[in-house]
């Protein structure tokens, strides 16, 4: 959770000033979990090789962050301070296993594709980060919105990176051939982990160029 200090800045707003739109914008764009907070990198290396996988993973993230944020927020006055992190992890793990079981029961093929990575959402820093930085000190509704916003923010970047990687690496998008193997040489590098770093780094650069971090935050 090395990034807690970063994500904490946008928290603990008085309820009267909470603007849901603002929370949404923060999560999806202004303080995007991947490009701005640089969280949850471990998983996206593995699941962004194909757009389809990235979509399902993004959906899982939205579900888990939203639900765990809501629950943590509802319990925020009950959870003893000293074990709050353990409690958060227990709640997150429960929702992740829900989702994993759901995939195994009803979307068997996708569950096979994603393998162990669905379960690894438990250790995704975004989920824990939002619970710890936002939900534990804000009312349920803003927390739910924050969870959804950050989930969407993560999912968007996942899909964007997967678009590049699948296109350059396999020459396909969502399994449809775009660059024909007849004249296009697949670039395997983009399927491997370094490819994700290249694409993500490039994306972070572009997004931070369009939307530079505010000076006050840079000095931190």
């Amino acid at each position: 959770m090395s990034s807690d200090s970063q994500s904490r800045q946008s928290t603990a707003l008085p309820v009267s000033r909470v603007k849901y739109i603002g929370i949404l914008q923060d999560g999806v764009y202004r303080t995007n979990p991947v490009t701005y907070q640089v969280l949850g990198i471990c998983i996206f290396l593995a699941v962004t090789t194909k757009v389809e996988n990235a979509l399902v993973m993004g959906f899982a993230l939205i579900f888990v962050t939203a639900m765990s944020n809501l629950l943590v927020s509802l319990l925020r006055n009950t959870i003893p301070r000293r074990i709050r992190m353990i409690a958060e992890v227990a709640i997150i793990a429960t929702f992740v296993i829900f989702f994993d079981q759901f995939l195994k029961a009803f979307y068997w093929d996708m569950s096979k594709q994603l393998g162990p990575y669905v379960a690894l959402i438990i250790t995704n820093c975004i989920v824990m980060g939002r619970a710890e930085a936002f939900a534990i000190q804000n009312p349920p509704l803003p927390s739910l919105v924050d969870g959804i916003a950050n989930g969407i923010g993560y999912a968007l970047i996942l899909v964007l990176i997967a678009l590049f990687r699948e296109l350059i690496g396999f020459g396909t998008i969502l399994g449809y051939t775009v660059l024909s193997p007849a004249w296009y040489e697949r670039n395997i590098l983009f399927i491997m982990a370094p490819g994700a770093f290249f694409v993500a780094g490039f994306l972070i650069w572009v997004l931070n160029f369009i939307n530079p971090p505010k000076p006050a935050e840079v000095g931190k």
Partner: protein, 210 residues
């Protein structure tokens, strides 16, 4: 002290609720998951053996086709699935399938290898249970990788049992396929599993003949 009690109580109650919720979900999904797993296995046996079937058959249909066409026998220590079309109207098996399992990079790899009735030529292969890296080692579950095996032999040109998974670009052999670029660890583990299987099979077959 009072604080500690409260903390313990909270942890206990939260743990209990989470556990109960998970147990409930697991109970609810168990039949679906088991049906999926069973159908998955059967589907792979049928596909490897080349038993004709429609796309998108339900679990029950798959099981029916399996019952009708496949007979399970023991060859030494090896379980053998014989494909006899139309349940025994012909005595001779068209193909035989042997399950295999071994150690992958992240977890166990399980699959099934289908061979001609003489246990030499590969008719098909399926890796149906594996946790290799998606997009890299996970490609062993992909069509293109598995299709390479069709027509290969588990006996070398010189007559020795064995199988090789080579680096892509290596000249082909009667008993080798190309591995996966970027997934050397998975490729070599697959090689070890199949090589071992080829040797085991020959041993069983010889002792069976005697």
């Amino acid at each position: 002290m009072k604080d500690n009690t409260r903390t313990l109580l909270f942890a206990g109650v939260l743990g209990l609720i989470c556990a109960l919720a998970l147990a409930g979900v697991s109970q609810f999904t168990a039949p679906y998951r088991q049906a999926n797993e069973k159908a998955e296995e059967v589907r792979n046996y049928l596909a490897a053996l080349g038993v004709p079937g429609r796309e998108g058959m339900s679990s029950q249909e798959l099981l029916d086709v399996f019952e009708e066409n496949v007979r399970v026998e023991q060859l030494g220590e090896q379980t053998v699935y014989r494909y006899i079309p139309g349940s025994g109207s012909q005595a001779e098996a068209v193909a035989v399938a042997v399950p295999f399992s071994g150690v992958g990079l992240w977890g166990p790899i399980r699959g099934v290898l289908a061979l001609g009735p003489n246990f030499t030529t590969i008719r098909g292969i399926r890796f149906f249970d594996q946790q290799e890296t998606p997009g890299l080692g996970g490609e062993i579950g992909a069509e293109w990788f598995q299709n390479q095996f069709v027509g290969k032999r588990i006996v070398s040109a010189g007559g020795d049992p064995g199988f090789k998974v080579n680096k892509p670009g290596t000249p082909e052999d009667v008993n080798s396929v190309d591995g996966i670029t970027g997934a050397t660890m998975t490729s070599s583990r697959v090689e070890a599993i199949l090589d071992n299987l080829a040797k085991e099979l020959l041993k069983e077959k010889q002792s069976d003949v005697q």
